[in-house]
Amino acid sequence: MRADLLKNSLFTIIRREMTRIFRLWSQTLLPPVITQSLHFLIFGGFIGSRVGLVDGVPYIAFIVPGLVMMTVIQNSFMNVVSSFFLAKFQRSIEELIVSPTPDWAMMVGYVFGGIVRGAVSGVLVFAVCAVFAHPTIRHPFAILLFLFLAATLFSLAGFLNGIFAKTFDDISIFSTFVLVPLTYLGGVFYSLNQLPAFWQNVSRLNPILYMVDGFRYGFFGVASVPVWWSAVVLALIAFAITLVNLALLRRGVGMKQ
């Protein structure tokens, strides 16, 4: 596809995703703010006041990066998987398949939508939490880097789930049985240093740990895992999922007979 045509095609996919996210704000942006505000009030406010300091940070402030990251992860993932699967379910994805839009542009368009929804939801949750917890910001670049890596990785994972999904049940199975447990066990509400050595090693297999840890480093300047290592691990996982997605799209898996 010629570059000028490709640009128009890619912008069209992105514009459609943006329109969907902001038109349906009460379904896409508001729910995470309410859910995470409740998490913040209950765990940070009521329980946190009895916990004291974690890694030298008041617990109410300690959980803010984790809650923001949890929001980013879940919303990036769900945005892509639901939007892409709905397009498959309604068969409107055929509009793209019959056009000269390349497979990678299709993936980039959907993933961009996931990144935007994840980032906007995360910023909204942070804004609510910041009113009460006043978290510091030590390394803004690290915050942006890990926000971007997490949103990208889980948008790509959502796309992968969308490729294989055949029913609405299929889009919630991964979220319920993999994403949510990994998120809660990824250090959102605790520090890796608080775990026994064995569970620390087990936790290192969870990619969400690296996201939360690196993101938290941006706020408080302390990390359980070297920050550069977290960034490399996440970038490699995102790259691997990208290759898998492209290979599946090339073979027409889940879309062509």
Partner: protein, 300 residues
Amino acid sequence: MEALRIEGVRKTYAGGVEALKGVDLSIAEGDFFALLGANGAGKTTLINITVGLVTKTGGKVTVFGVDQDADPDTTKLSIGIVPQEFNFNIFETPRVIVMTQGGFYGMDRRDAAARADELLHALGLWEKKDVQAIKLSGGMKRRLMIARALVHRPRLLILDEPTAGVDVELRRGMWEYLRTLNAAGTTILLTTHYLEEVEQLCKNMTIVQRGAVVKSGSVQALLAEASDRRYRVMLAEAPTDAQVHTLRAESDDGTTVTVALAPDELFETVFARCHEAGVHVRDVVPAQNRVEELYLSTIQ
């Protein structure tokens, strides 16, 4: 130049169902071509292979001289598809649906908007341009899919049962629009179960059965082959038995009789017999749709 050339195209679905068994097809540029066949004959599979929705098992598809496998982008830009089933986002409006499709084909947003407005006017959807597609009637949804297929000005328009479920008045309107498009140079490939549509619109046709082409040629030439030459003659008054005998006809009911002609008899023989029998003719129509007769005789 050939708008579409299909050579030895085969498709075996996962599970072993052989949908196409080496189909050959050629459609000239500017043609209005009918693809006929029973449900499950392989028509939609053939169309979906042509537009890239189904991966073929073997064979070659060439669109305006360009091999689909060598340059899929160019072939896709040449084709517009109106599928059998509604496949747009039902929560979007017709204007957005058509504009978005233009964008997918690389059209600039301003051009896509202007083209969408032009098509929505032409297809009588302008009043509904900002209504969610889910709220449109069946006929409007069909016309919306035609508008969407035409947004990038394709040279080949493929319509898979475009008038299914559309009322007679609307269908006639769509026929007129398709005729105008064809006259302006757009090649049209049509599948339909309304066989009068083929007789009214198409120049050439192919009949497929169980994944293979069983008959192909110009509509007129194939109709000439049709064995049925029976005509329903509507008379001014009910004929007597003697008049029916003179007409060499079968009496249907009241004032209508059916006259059968031998292959070598001219059509005017019908009137000659009526004159001989002393009856007055109100109207003469084929006893059966000729394409229908041809179709049934071919697939049986």
